[in-house]
């Protein structure tokens, strides 16, 4: 009986219309806004920045491709933009003088161990770029903490250059705020210009591609926790503003902690996640052995995300009402 009419219509479950957002569109918007800190890094570190960015991106895409091929998945997913973001983010977290081979290893680890072994896009627990960086930090600790000054700064001895946070932690030297804002300081590629990172982050916030709770929660909690310490002893502890603008905090808060896959699904979860990151950043920077702690803070809180999702289910409309 059914054979009588050949279906000329497309059958599908409702709804039958979709809005214009798509995964690659979101990803490429993030890539677009990342171009701001990328531009800053190229301005301040010239060839070093270009070299690291290129190697990181190429090896990220290549690893993604090889794994997709091995797992018999659709290889066109290489260009969904997610591996590109990982490549750029990884490059932005690396010191400008890092050897090319290290960058390549980092990119491989980021995609292979950070993403593909979990099942690829959407299934990873940790931010892949930070997994790559954490691996490099553990594998090549000296190289990862050796900083090169920006090309535009005339420094006599290039060998012993400290980041603004390292300078404060080990020798109590503060970098000028003006340099922090523009980015004329030592540090990893993306730790340079605070202003450009904030602009990029605001664009993403405006487009609603990142959860506003996360950067707001992180920055506020770092400000509050460090502010409390500073009020207690302004000699020993840095000004909270200095903590906001120095190091990788802004890049982490706007571009890494907000990674959709590895951040909580629920609003309450996002708040806890963000405040947790802020707290850990202050804890590691002030009391830890390292001057910077954004990477570990985000990775640690990433591991809590499944738990947060589980225990912060939002109240359903009408929940708790009496029948």
């Amino acid at each position: 009986m059914k054979k009588q009419y050949a279906s000329e219509f497309v059958l599908s479950s409702s709804p039958h219309i979709r809005n214009k957002e798509s995964v690659p569109k979101i990803m490429y918007w993030v890539v677009g806004t990342l171009m701001l800190p990328v531009a800053a890094s190229i301005y301040f570190f010239r060839m070093n920045a270009i070299r690291i960015l290129l190697i990181s991106i190429i090896f990220s895409l290549l690893t993604e491709f090889v794994f997709l091929l091995a797992r018999k998945k659709d290889t066109s997913a290489v260009f969904d933009g997610s591996a590109l973001i990982t490549g750029i983010l990884l490059a932005l977290t690396l010191p400008p003088g890092l050897k090319s081979s290290y960058v390549a290893i980092g990119a491989f680890v980021a995609i292979a161990l950070g993403k593909q072994v979990f099942g690829g896009l959407g299934y990873n627990i940790f931010n892949p770029a930070l997994v790559g960086r954490a691996f490099l930090q553990a594998a090549f600790p000296v190289a990862m903490t050796t900083w090169v000054p920006p090309v535009v700064q005339k420094v006599v001895d290039a060998k012993t250059f400290a980041t603004p946070l390292g300078g404060f932690k080990f020798s109590h030297v503060l970098a000028p705020y003006k340099d922090l804002l523009i980015g004329n300081t030592g540090g990893s590629l993306g730790e340079t210009s605070a202003i450009l990172i904030i602009i990029g982050g605001l664009v993403l916030l405006f487009k609603k591609y990142i959860d506003w709770r996360i950067p707001v929660g992180i920055l506020t909690s770092v400000f509050v926790f460090e502010g409390a310490l500073w009020l207690a002893n302004s000699e020993k502890f840095a000004n909270p503003l200095y903590f906001l603008f120095a190091g990788g905090l802004l890049l982490g808060a706007f571009f890494m902690a907000t990674d959709m896959v590895t951040s909580p699904l629920t609003p309450k979860g996002s708040w806890i996640y963000a405040i947790g990151i802020g707290f850990l950043v202050v804890l590691i920077r002030v009391f830890g052995g390292l001057p910077e702690g954004v990477m570990y803070s985000i990775l640690i809180m990433n591991s809590f995300v499944p738990l947060l999702n589980r225990y912060t289910r939002p109240k359903i409309l009408g929940e708790g009402g009496k029948k």
């Binding site: 599908s12 709804p15 979709r18 809005n19 957002e21 798509s22 699904l265 289910r313 929940e319 009402g321």
Partner: protein, 443 residues
């Protein structure tokens, strides 16, 4: 204007301009009508006629079985050609009475109003008349209206909300009705109010229909017991729970119904049908619907008999434009896509939508990237992606804890999903899985 709304939701392009200017036309009944005996929520009706019987317009041909069920009537006069399963827009083959229309529209003699003044009916009489006439919710859910009009005694209803939001894009059925049947709707609403013993009526209308709002405000002229409630244009504003939240600020408890918070929500089309039945005694055998979409030549608003074939209506609207991609009963957000146009109009067919092939979303499905769009927009404040992941893995109990059964299937989550995951589809899968699980454990 004090516009009310509910939290979250989406703004799909409304596309109502395609058909909103066209007055309701009467569509002549086709040569053959197919009347499925199960078009409503609840138990199917039982046939009262046999093959080759002659039936008259308005004659009861299907008897409601059980409390939640509805009578079925013949929309035309003619001969029963056969009683056999026929495919319906709901996708299943349903036992249907197929009637050859003799074109004479001979009225069933028993059809006359019980009383001359519809206002003089007692509540009990209203319920009986509505039940007898087989009226169901015409907004799309097809829930028997008489049941809605009989809330349990321990839940007094104080407010009636007329649902004129029509938040589905494209559809203009309720819009046209509200413009063209003003007095009938107002009177119908008053009768509903009296029937359930409420003291206040609100007419909820989205602000993309300013002419309707103005018209009714003028008509009601500042009445204290009957107010127009202008609503923000936002999907799914017309969902019962959203409407109650927006207008009254009350939240229907999970798993509950509007009467739990003292409200009766009735679609304007249903209200009109109730009024007509009380006035003329004619059961529900026709309804107003919109035939629209970029895929039909001349979108229209039509008054058609139940049982008319989609194909006939589409031809009446000038046929398809280009290659039709999708044929949908209802709106684009919650409507049901059809595999053939040889299906009958049901009581709940609020619209027929044809989307041409080029209008269909062409998006690849990705893994969920946890973007939270669905959570940010879900009007029920659920976390759809979480429910879907659990449902996909057949963890129905856990999915239920996350609100699986509270989903109203409005389609908002699928609409906004950048990964193009058919979330609603998986939630339906989860719901049926959960129900099966429950049945099994009860045994």
């Amino acid at each position: 204007m004090n516009k009310k709304t509910f939290p979250k939701g989406v703004h799909p392009p409304d596309k109502k301009e395609l058909s909103k200017e066209f007055k309701i036309e009467v569509f002549p009944a086709g040569k053959t009508v197919v009347i499925p005996l199960h078009q409503h929520t609840g138990a199917p009706a039982e046939p009262l006629v046999k093959k080759k019987d002659r039936v008259l317009k308005g004659q009861k041909i299907g008897e409601a079985k059980g409390f939640i069920s509805a009578n079925i009537h013949s929309p035309v006069s003619g001969t029963v050609k056969s009683i056999e399963p026929h495919v319906t827009p709901l996708g299943k083959n349903v036992l249907s009475v197929i009637i050859e229309n003799d074109g004479e529209d001979e009225l069933f003699p028993e059809i006359k109003p019980l009383k001359n003044d519809p206002h003089s009916y007692s509540p009990e009489e209203v319920r009986n008349a509505v039940r007898e006439a087989g009226i169901v919710g015409l907004g799309g859910a097809a829930f028997p209206t008489s049941v809605k009009l009989s809330p349990p005694k321990e839940y007094p209803v104080d407010t009636v909300i007329l649902n004129g939001a029509e938040c589905e894009p494209y559809l203009t059925t309720d819009y046209r009705l509200m413009l063209e049947r003003v007095d009938e709707i107002i009177e119908g609403a008053e009768i509903l109010k009296e029937t359930v013993g409420a003291s206040k009526i609100y007419l909820g209308v989205e602000d993309n229909k300013p002419d309707v709002i103005e018209l009714y405000e003028q008509k009601l002229n500042g009445r204290a017991d009957f107010e127009v409630a202008p609503l923000k244009t936002k999907y799914p504003q017309g969902g019962e729970k959203m409407l109650i939240k927006a207008i009254l600020g009350r939240e229907v408890p999970t798993g509950g119904l509007p009467f739990h918070v003292g409200v009766l929500v009735q679609n304007v089309g249903t209200t009109y049908a109730v009024y007509e039945t009380l006035k003329t005694g004619m059961p529900l055998i026709e309804r107003v619907l919109t035939i629209t979409g970029e895929g039909v030549k001349e979108p229209k608003n039509l008054q058609v008999r139940i049982g008319t074939m989609f194909k006939d209506i589409i031809e009446f609207a000038g046929g398809y434009v280009g290659k039709p991609g999708k044929l949908i009963m209802g709106g684009p957000m919650m409507g049901i896509s059809q595999w053939t146009d040889i299906v009958p109009v049901l009581k709940a067919t609020s619209g027929i939508l044809v989307l041409p092939e080029e209008e269909l979303p062409k998006k690849k499905e990705y893994n969920c990237i946890g973007c939270n769009s669905c959570t940010e927009h879900c009007p029920m404040n659920l976390v759809p992606t979480r429910i879907v992941t659990l449902a996909k893995n057949e963890r129905f109990e856990d999915a239920k804890d996350w609100g699986l059964m509270d989903c109203i299937e409005c389609g908002t989550c699928s609409y906004v999903c950048p990964a193009n995951i058919p979330l609603v589809h998986w939630i339906r899968f989860g719901k049926s899985g959960y129900i099966k699980l429950k049945k099994k454990s009860e045994k």
